[in-house]
């Protein structure tokens, strides 16, 4: 019994993400360990060279001058080590790149499966940040921390063994302090991590405050309050600086601890070895516990003993960052998109379908209902207005009809259950327009051909004419008129009309509108509603809208209630109501 509910922790998720990259990372680790072995060899060579020279200099041995082989071997070590390091970095970068690309691919696919349901996981801006920034936030963890966290254990052990062969005491000294380092890092690091998270929060708040004032610069200038606002910014920044410095004083302690151990190890080893060579150690007067070559070997290794740990300390935040990102991504990665079973293939037909809903309900999170059970019939060619307070399930009804939301009860299209249909064939019969017109940066023609790639120019002009945009566009560059980001260059109403033109190119028999006029001013909304009326004749229409203004032409109105307040009115009845409501709407 694997409970479907227990979701993996961020760390498990990270591990799963990295599993396909393990060979790259193992290769990187291997190269890094090779570097450590070279370091030992290099130190040994240096120690041997110097002890020989010391003897020669003191005249106690024959002056054997530069041993070319030894120098060549040393040179090889000095050249190979940096190259191995570069190799390690290249392999880690490869792993990071692969892992990020794979995760991004998965997220994009997930978004494609969710369709309109993506809104449950955040705004488009937030989702964009998840797919881009949050995925990139894994980089430091994959390309640095992963390998480094292993090195921080393996390298001190390796060096410890090498040192122990020459001096048990020195090795013990270092290996004893080594476990203290992670301990301190955890103690100080945890406090510092919490503090730095709070600091990031305040930084974001300060940035938001600054941006808020910059955005309203026009207002401030008109009030003559720009100088006052500038003083506010200075004061807020100064307060932020004070707070942040308090945090940093603590946060930097963790690196100071590492620095302290590193410096202490070198100093202690140097004093112990040097005094030992002089024979003045209090517990070993007159004898030399460690001979010169061994002493030099140990001294050369001492700074490198703590180097991987120090590096790990510097990369420590990378792990927190990656885990944080994974936590953010978890809802999207855990989402289980629903799709119809693809068992029944609908024929492509331009005839409007007959819809029959019986006890149709859409479930939300934690047993909540997004749409309470609903009976609804839509005859072919019928045009229905759906209203209701927010939260009454208007959008959920459309999501179920679009084939994205799993539903309870029955939703039949021409007698076939929607859950059994082939989704793409069903969706080909639908036209959908929400608040955001599907208009991308590019020419008007490019945008129209989003919905109909094969349409010829004359067809495009014809539909533009139908939505009353052609005169306006003809005065500019016609079909080649360029639209900026989010359709800049046309007004909101004009963009929605362009979106209607896109619909017209598809010949879909059922049109769904989700608050298509919500962002428009009164005039533009009326005009769009009038166009919808004219162009949707002969099609089925389900129109979700807050406002009923300009929609007097629909055949029926359905009011969804959050409670049991659901009423369906015949045309005549609610026209009557509208007329009564009108004056109070207007004033």
């Amino acid at each position: 019994m694997t409970a479907a509910t227990d979701s993996p922790t961020p760390r498990q998720r990270l591990a799963r993400c990295l599993a396909p990259q393990r060979w790259w990372l193992r290769g990187a680790l291997l190269l890094a360990l090779g570097g450590a072995v070279l370091l030992v060899a290099q130190s040994w060579l240096l120690a041997a060279l110097f002890s020989r020279w010391l003897l020669a200099w003191q005249g106690e041995a024959a002056p054997t001058l530069p041993a070319p082989w030894w120098l060549a071997a040393l040179a090889t070590c000095l050249v190979l080590r940096p190259l191995l390091h570069a190799g390690r970095e290249a392999l880690s970068r490869r792993a990071s790149r692969n892992a990020r690309a794979a995760l991004r691919l998965e997220l994009l696919e997930r978004l494609g499966q969710l369709g309109p349901l993506r809104r449950r996981f955040g705004s488009d801006g937030a989702l964009g940040a998840q797919v881009l920034e949050q995925v990139d936030a894994l980089d430091g963890y994959v390309s640095r921390y992963q390998v480094q966290s292993r090195l921080a254990v393996l390298v001190p052990l390796l060096l410890g063994v090498a040192i122990a062969l020459h001096s048990r005491l020195a090795a013990a000294l270092m290996l004893m302090t080594a476990p203290l380092v992670p301990l301190f890092m955890v103690l100080v690091g945890r406090a510092a991590a919490g503090a730095s998270r709070r600091q990031l929060d305040t930084q974001a708040r300060l940035g938001g405050h600054f941006l808020d004032l910059v955005r309203g610069m026009g207002t401030l200038q008109r009030l003559g309050a720009a100088a006052q606002a500038s003083r506010r910014i200075a004061a807020a920044s100064e307060a932020y600086r004070e707070r942040t410095m308090g945090v940093l004083r603590l946060a930097f302690l963790s690196s100071a601890v590492l620095e302290f151990f590193s410096a202490l190890a070198i100093a202690l080893v140097a004093l112990y070895l040097g005094l030992g060579l002089l024979g003045v150690l209090p517990w070993a007067k007159g004898e030399v516990p460690v001979s010169y070559p061994s002493a030099l070997f140990i001294l050369l290794l001492a700074p490198e003993f703590y180097a991987p740990l120090r590096q790990l300390g510097a990369d420590y935040h990378a792990r927190a960052e990656a885990e944080g990102a994974m936590r953010e991504l978890a809802p999207l990665l855990e989402s289980r998109p629903w799709r119809p079973a693809d068992r029944v293939a609908l024929a492509d037909t331009a005839a409007p379908p007959r819809l029959a809903c019986r006890n149709l309900a859409v479930a939300g999170d934690a047993g909540r209902r997004r749409l309470a059970p609903l009976d609804l019939d839509l005859a072919p060619g019928e045009r229905l207005l759906v209203q209701g307070e927010s939260g009454s399930g208007k959008s959920s009804l459309l999501e179920a009809l679009l084939g994205f939301a799993p539903y309870e009860g029955s939703l039949a299209v021409d007698g076939h259950e929607l859950a059994e249909l082939e989704r793409e064939a069903w969706q080909r019969r639908l036209g959908y327009l929400g608040q955001q017109p599907p208009v991308l940066r590019g020419s008007v023609a490019d945008n129209l051909r989003l919905s109909a790639p094969e349409a010829g120019d004359s067809e495009l002009v014809a539909v533009l004419d139908q939505v009353e945009l052609w005169p306006l566009l003809a005065a500019r560059q016609g079909l080649a008129t360029l639209l900026g980001e989010r359709g800049r260059g046309l007004s909101g109403g004009q963009l929605q009309r362009l979106a209607l033109a896109q619909l017209l190119l598809r010949e879909a028999p059922l049109w769904l509108f989700d608050e298509a006029t919500a962002h428009l001013d009164l005039d533009a909304a009326r005009r769009l509603n009038g166009l919808i009326e004219r162009l949707s004749r002969g099609r089925s229409v389900i129109l979700v809208s807050h406002e009923a203004d300009g929609l007097e032409w629909v055949d029926r109105r359905l009011v969804l209630g959050t409670a049991a307040l659901r009423q369906e009115r015949r045309k005549e009845e609610w026209r009557e109501e509208m007329r009564e409501e009108m004056p109070s709407c207007q004033s």
């Binding site: 808020d212 401030l220 002493a295």
Partner: protein, 573 residues
Amino acid sequence: MSELKSAPAIRLRDLLRLRRGGWSLAFVIGAATLLAVVALLAISGWFITAAAAAGVASMALLGFDYFRPAALIRLCAIVRTVGRYGERLASHHAALGLLKDLRCRLFDALGRRTPGAAQISTATGSAATMHRLVTDIDQLDRFVLSALLPWGWAGLLSLAVMGALAWLDPTLLLAAMPGLLMAWLGLPLLTLWQGSRLARYDAELGEARREALVEPLAAITPLLLWGRWGDVHRRVAEHDRRCLDHQERQRRLASLVGALQQVALGMSIVSVLWWGVSRLSESGLSVALLLAVVMVLLGLGEILAPLAVSFVSLGASLAARDRLNALVADPRGVSASTPAVAGTPSSPLSLELDGISARIPGALNGPEGVSLKLRAGEVLCVRGPSGCGKSTLLQVLAGELAPSAGECRLNDRKLNEWRLNEVIGYLPQQWDLFDMSLAANLRLGNGEASDDMLWQMLDELALGEWVRRLPQGLDTPLGEYGAAVSGGQARRIALARLLLARRPLLLLDEPLVGLDAVCHERVLAAVRRRQGDGPLVVVSHVPLDLPGLRLRELWLSAEGRPVKAGGTRASQR
């Protein structure tokens, strides 16, 4: 392109100059720390070699002084630990101070532009551009933190090491020089130009990738229905590949240069060894000193390594500086108008329009040939279908948009000859409430207003009841974009703020939207009471209605032509 070139808001040298004291402190502490790092290694190496040379037997004979080196070693260890901590605190203190200076400076630079210019740049630059403003400012301290300071330290330490070598034995310096120079200057400088050029494109590529994703994401449902999401998918993947390739290029460069630096240092070690050994017998060079030299060169590796990546920070801050300067530059090349004849008109004010035509860039319509004269105490209500240019006319009257034809006169002098910001109170359709308390928002109109004055103003605009019911009263935070209040309330708060500023000539764009009829009268009465007998111009789609109002109406046709001007009172409902 010979534009009138004003000084850019931010220059790289400012970054250093603004916090000279802080940066100097950080530099000195950092330099002492790094000296201690190198000295600790050198003295330790020298100490054990000298000790070995002295040996147990000769110890008593020669009186080897081991106290001083031992003390030095301890001192170096302490300086290194404390110094590292102090340097990081000092440099961050300076960096945060710089952040404050930069924010204020940019804000002031933005504030010097004409109000219209600010609006234009928010219209052309998307919300993303504005958002980048904050991240760009945060990028700037990297120039000092990860480019300038590391170069300074590396230079100081390299020179110190070279000086020490020359003092020991000039020929030894010659042996070490090629590798050392290569690692310190040659390799990093070679990459600096190429690398910083690469890094400058980071933001652009990132922006293109975001756009490729976020724009279609808003339209995902239709795109899915049309079977076009696959295309989007491919395009995002392509942009992502480009971004990652670019990143890879930079990192490969940094990694390669870093490796070559270490190789060069390694070569200088080998050549010092090779040459030094032959000098052992000839000069005063001892084995202990030779080892000290090797230890120093080994320690230098850590200090020179940051130079290989400094180009990333340099490129990023250069790009950030350019973007910020472009954002701050006035698109029209006009700095805030300093009128030829500065002065404020005295009351009674009279406003005269003479054949005014104007058009907002890119708009289809605007007012055409509007002429009228408005005397003190009179109220003008501008009406007409939406899109006919009512708001445009108001913008002209506010002096924020130059008319394409005609002239606007205040007390018989051209509008731009007056110091307008103390005369005109303009409430456009787009105004902002700020993420501050209600009181702070109101005091933007008048910084000296007491709580009593605020309450009185709120009561006059029928807001007092509502505010008294709020648990925090005047201190209620309004939330970003004033999200915590309804549209009608927000509009009245903005109006209250404007009235507190006591401007004699008021221009109000749709001040009554979202209010019921009772509210209309109260608000209008408050405006007239506060304003005294100054002229009032209101754009409204509902008729103004208040007993005793000297009301005139200007109707604009859909094309922006005045159709019926005069003293007729609006028909009452």
